[in-house]
Symmetry: C2
Subunit: 141 residues, 2 copies
DNA sequence: TATATTTTATAGCACAGGCTATAATAAGAA
DNA sequence: TTCTTATTATAGCCTGTGCTATAAAATATA
């Protein structure tokens, strides 16, 4: 395949954008999970968040502190975690993006389980243009 | 879409795997870039690596130190950076995976430029199964 | 109510990956 | 060869994300 290279500037921009997306990736996962737990269990407890994220409890507590600091969630000591309007909006977007991505991957031939697992990492790096193309790809039977 | 949820264990596994991939993502990018610069310019200098990665020079120096520590590259003070056999092998794999991913994205309708930029982040989270499905998708005209 | 258990918070540590400022070295020019 | 410039290394800082150990609070049980 004789591919033309991107300019050094565009290449650096690609890395730069990936770094920025990376910085919000964890917050997106937590927010999505909090919405999910609230929906399933009626509330999102720190212990459940930690378990489902596969991290130690203090790690989850610290991440929640960051969510609060960034205005995505609220909580009082020894109480569950709640999303703000902004957090809920992010959760909705992230959820739909996740589903779209899994749909595309499965349509391409990836198993559901692998698609779900891979999507967990990939989803955070999908641009608006790519998401639009994915939706179109899915709707074109 | 009535999607069935993954079990809590599988979900945690997804996050866990994403974290592991994340940890090697930067190393993959550096290794790929070093191979690219060596190919283009005959050698990979720290200054060029930093510029193309879009980071400050000491940041690149530190990353290179980690590559050396992990047996992926070698270098002597004030000299260029060279890949080990292991590093070169990683570079080859990463390059081909990158190209495959860009190919799939473009086939789905993403522009070349957006595909290249998005791929820079996504590529590191592509599993073997997904990569195989992508190759098949590309070869099936 | 008193005690045991579970849950959450806090303290303290480590490492990766950014940065700026500055020193040291190598390479080029006079 | 000496001096200037460009390159690389080093020091020191910050933030994020992990961990374990332990304290504190809330909840459940006796
Ligand atoms: Mn995710
Ligand atoms: Mn997700
Ligand atoms: Mn990349
Ligand atoms: Mn790449």
């Amino acid at each position: 395949m004789p591919e033309e290279k991107l300019s050094p500037e565009k290449q650096a921009e690609g890395f730069s954008i990936a770094r920025e997306k990376q910085a919000v990736a964890l917050m997106e996962d937590y927010v999505e999970l909090i919405a999910e737990l609230t929906d399933e269990l009626g509330e999102a407890r720190v212990a459940d968040i930690a378990e489902r994220m596969g991290v130690a409890q203090p790690t989850a507590t610290k991440a929640i502190a960051r969510l609060k600091r960034e205005g995505l969630a609220t909580s009082r000591p020894y109480r569950g975690v709640f999303l703000t309007a902004e957090g809920a909006q992010m959760a909705k977007f992230v959820y739909e993006r996740h589903r779209t991505l899994v749909g595309v991957l499965m349509k391409i031939g990836v198993s559901k389980e692998a698609a779900e697992i891979d999507a967990e990492g990939i989803e955070h790096f999908v641009s608006d243009e790519m998401l639009a193309a994915f939706k179109k790809f899915l709707s074109d039977t």
